[in-house]
């Protein structure tokens, strides 16, 4: 059953062929290669350290499963190995664990941290592949390629793509479920795939909870317009049975429950606990326009301003232009569909009866609207609405593809070679600011702000959050190696022990330079500059009797970390 083929490709899209998948594969491989080679510059963040601990536990469980399956499947084993970080589902951590096991067995990765991070990088690469295929199907390969590159060159997602964390995997999963659901609208064979990938998305992160809501709203709209169009005499174009949603409802929950050993026992109680953790999440500190937010109500403008300040302007502009164009197109189509008889409508451009724009708009807006709610914690910065970005990128790709297409008549006077090179050169020009900003953001991804904010110094002027998770400590390694050739200790502020240890295990930091949690006992003490961390500055000032740091790590002149030397240190 394929009711909507003609309408699906109404905007210049086409089915992806083997060649397209080859392009996707190349994009995926190149991106992973880039991430692989730049990951060593970024220290393990707080949350990564916690997920490393969880992944180690999961790896032990996998080993037990391989050698003694009955024991591994007992309650005591699943409770023991999956208790750590049970507030998050396991799929991404299982990937990290598999990377770690592969490292133990085959020494594939140059550093230990990379073995954990590879799963996240893989999802980042697959996401580019998926964006390309999605874009090709919606608007054609030019749009798909531009969209994939536009996403790859967003500074903040580029930083997160390096990590053993959930934010890029869930972005990949959400995009994947959306793609499968979209395909299921015209081809029921995609319905079970929707169900399976939805189950996997549930196993990745709780962002996936919103997908059924978005899809249901989309389908209600689709069905309403379809019914109305049929009443007006239009032929049936899409099925009125939401096969994809049915499959998600049927397959998603069992895959979720079956894939998470922690939920195998006391299921109802633990599910309730999991939901409660995220519905009543603890609030952390986040600076926004000079105010340290730690308690609701949070500013409604937060995700919108942060998007403006962190997504390169050209990409953002292209995305908004694409969205605006598609909205105009959609409105015109809707009027034709609802106001003209079937015979008249046939004279009009083909109509997208799957209401793709409504779907894309829902996926684009829902994550940001949820973060805009005054009660939603904002501690995670931009990463919480990353699932919106692939759809932004698709709209940017649409603008690029349309512009290239409509500019063709203007190129008629040029030579064939120049005409052929127009799209690549023009695309490269449009992506150049993103590429430059992303390269410049490394390895300070979370500290980076675009020209719209006035760059990093402008953002500091505005009182925007400087960083979080303590990941910038990695950039102090050269200083500490020079300052403590005989070893010593460092009070590590917002960095956690596992993350510090990883610097040694990766071979970046000598193992005789150890972490300390005691300012007075440490040879050096560091402060990650976030507004509320002035408290640690003050503790150091009082303990060391001086306000003078010996080193200030800066990014575009903005202090990122201050390092103080203990006057009582013998080093």
């Amino acid at each position: 059953m394929n009711l909507g083929g003609r309408q699906i490709f109404a905007s210049g899209g086409r089915p992806a062929c083997a060649h397209d998948h080859l392009v996707g594969l190349v994009l995926c491989a190149l991106y992973i290669t880039l991430l692989w080679h730049t990951a060593g510059d970024i220290g393990l963040s707080r949350d990564e350290g916690i997920y490393v601990d969880a992944a180690n536990n999961y790896a032990s469980w996998f080993e037990l499963l391989a050698h003694d399956r009955p024991t591994a499947l007992t309650r005591s084993a699943s409770d023991h190995f999956f208790h750590v970080n049970h507030e998050h589902p396991p799929l991404a951590k299982m990937l990290f664990a598999l990377g770690h096991l592969a490292q133990e067995k085959w020494q594939i990765f140059p550093t230990e941290s990379l073995s954990y991070r590879f799963g996240g990088m893989l999802s980042a690469g697959l996401l580019l592949w998926l964006i390309y295929i999605f874009g090709t199907r919606l608007y054609g390969p030019t749009a798909g390629l531009f969209a994939a590159l536009a996403y790859a060159l967003l500074p903040r997602p580029f930083y997160h793509a390096h990590l053993d964390a959930f934010d890029v995997p869930i972005t990949c999963a959400v995009t994947c479920v959306t793609y499968a659901y979209y395909r299921s609208l015209s081809d029921w064979r995609w319905a079970p795939i929707s169900g399976v990938v939805f189950g996997l998305a549930l196993l990745t992160k709780h962002n996936s909870w919103i997908l059924p809501g978005i899809f249901a709203l989309h389908f209600v709209w689709l069905a309403a317009t379809e019914l109305y169009a049929r009443k007006r005499g239009h032929a049936a174009a899409v099925s009125l049975v939401p096969w994809g949603l049915y499959a998600m409802a049927v397959l998603g929950p069992p895959i979720f429950l079956g894939g998470w050993p922690w939920l195998w026992h006391d299921t109802a109680l633990r599910l309730q606990e999991y939901a409660a953790f995220h519905m009543h999440h603890e609030y952390y500190n986040m600076e926004y326009f000079g105010v340290n937010y730690f308690w609701p109500p949070f500013p409604v403008s937060y995700p919108w301003v942060m998007t403006l300040f962190t997504v390169p302007l050209t990409t953002l502009w292209l995305a908004l232009a694409g969205l605006g164009h598609e909205l105009g197109q959609w409105w015109r189509q809707l009027r034709v569909l609802l106001t003209r008889a079937s015979a008249d409508a046939l004279a009009q451009p083909p109509i997208d009866r799957t209401q793709t724009l409504v779907l894309l708009l829902g996926c684009c807006l829902a994550p940001m609207v949820i973060i805009s709610l005054p009660s939603t914690p904002i501690f995670g910065g931009t990463k919480h609405w990353f699932p919106a970005y692939p759809f932004f990128a698709l709209f940017a790709g649409r603008t690029f593809q349309l512009t290239c297409e409509l500019a063709k008549p203007r190129l008629s006077g040029l030579s064939a070679a120049l005409r052929c090179s127009f799209a690549p050169v023009f695309g490269a020009l449009l992506l150049l600011p993103s590429a430059v900003e992303t390269a410049h953001s490394h390895p300070f991804g979370l500290s980076h702000y675009t020209a719209a904010a006035g760059g990093v110094p402008g953002a500091a002027d505005h009182g925007m959050n400087r960083q979080f998770w303590g990941f910038t400590t990695r950039s102090l390694v050269p200083f500490f190696k020079q300052a403590m050739p005989q070893g010593g200790s460092v009070y590590i502020c917002d960095t956690i022990w596992t993350s510090w240890q990883m610097l040694s295990r990766d071979g970046f930091l000598p193992s005789n330079i150890v972490a300390s949690f005691d300012i007075a006992e440490a040879d050096y003490a560091i402060v990650h500059h976030e507004k509320h961390f002035i408290e640690v500055d003050e503790q150091i000032w009082t303990t060391y009797g001086s306000v003078k740091p010996v080193y200030v790590l800066r990014y575009d002149g903005v202090p990122i970390i201050s390092v103080y030397k203990n006057p009582h240190s013998r080093r």
């Binding site: 730690f294 164009h325 512009t403 449009l430 005691d518 202090p559």
Partner: protein
């Protein structure tokens, strides 16, 4: 749709990335290199006087200022409540920024060191006669319990342990009047803590013990024309705005001359008490009592000076 193929649209799409790249290059090129800060700091260092204030603009560059001139910035300067004790202000400025407390008048000196500009403002003669935080160890602290008053002995030494968010002031303080060894926070001592605006304040920690006061007394204080008193609580103890008030009473020569009830949300609160405007050279005993009906997390901290002023404005 035709607009997307128009010449204007194409021009826009060529100019926008070029503009963005230009803006990025401009932002990066305006970053002051460390050598400029060093040269500016060396210049300032050679000319510093005893009552000079050193500051930086924009404020976020403060760690860089302290890196280069931190040895000339005592805790009292880093955690000042106002600029009254200073007679000149040095500013290391980048990108044209000025500190919020800069004088409206033109600077008396201005010199550029690459991308760092040094400005010096004359603040006028300091009206400050006596700083209570600086002289705390000359004072005498007591605690009252069920009508019985006992001394809080002065102790020196001890190493504070730990550190980190939510820990606040680390105990034991290097120098403090211990009011109860079982409650290490029940001390009177100089600290730096952050107020509700997350601004560092160099102040006298005088945690409330209950309805009965903890008191600290100075004798032979030059009273001047006014006593300017600032007070607040540790940020994390005040920010939820769910604790009871703290009361501070200020006595001069045994007579209550003023006081403050500090409610959560008040932040770093200012109080001015007229002292002895008719007798400019007068000296006297000053006592500050702090109490709270619910003393849990009432981490009251205050700083004060006596001043000889001719106007009521904030110096």
């Amino acid at each position: 749709m035709r607009f997307l193929g128009s010449r204007a649209w194409l021009c826009l799409l060529v100019l926008l990335p070029l503009g963005e790249l230009g803006a990025h290059a401009l932002i990066v090129s305006r970053v002051a290199p460390d050598a400029d800060f060093r040269a500016a700091a060396d210049f300032v260092r050679k000319q510093l006087h005893a009552r000079d204030l050193i500051t930086v603009a924009p404020a976020w560059a403060d760690p860089i200022l302290r890196l280069h001139l931190g040895d000339r910035i005592p805790l009292s300067m880093a955690g000042r409540s106002d600029d009254a004790r200073y007679e000149r202000m040095w500013v290391l400025s980048t990108r044209g920024a000025l500190p919020v407390d800069a004088s409206k008048r033109a600077p008396e000196l201005q010199r550029d060191f690459g991308r760092v500009r040094v400005l010096r403002y004359a603040l006028g003669k300091s009206p400050v006669l006596f700083d209570f935080t600086d002289t705390l160890l000359r004072a005498h602290a007591t605690i009252e319990e069920r009508g019985h008053v006992r001394d809080c002995p002065l102790h020196r030494g001890g190493v504070p342990h730990g550190g980190g968010l939510g820990r606040g002031v680390l105990f034991p303080l290097a120098e403090r009047f211990d009011c109860d060894p079982r409650r290490p926070w029940l001390v009177v001592g100089p600290v730096v803590t952050e107020d509700l605006e997350i601004t560092p304040r160099h102040c006298i920690w005088q945690h409330a013990a209950g309805d009965d006061p903890i008191s600290v007394t100075w004798s032979d204080v030059p009273l001047g024309s006014e006593l300017v008193f600032y007070a607040g609580l540790y940020y994390e103890h005040e920010r939820m705005r769910d604790h009871g008030p703290v009361r501070a009473d200020i006595f001069i020569d045994g007579e209550r001359r003023g006081g403050m009830v500090h409610e959560d949300g008040d932040g770093w609160k200012r109080l001015v008490i007229a002292t002895s405007p008719q007798a400019p050279g007068a000296r006297g005993e000053v006592r500050v009592e702090v109490r709270a009906h619910e003393p849990d997390r009432r981490s009251f901290c205050w700083s004060a000076t006596t001043r000889q002023t001719t106007s009521q404005g904030v110096p």
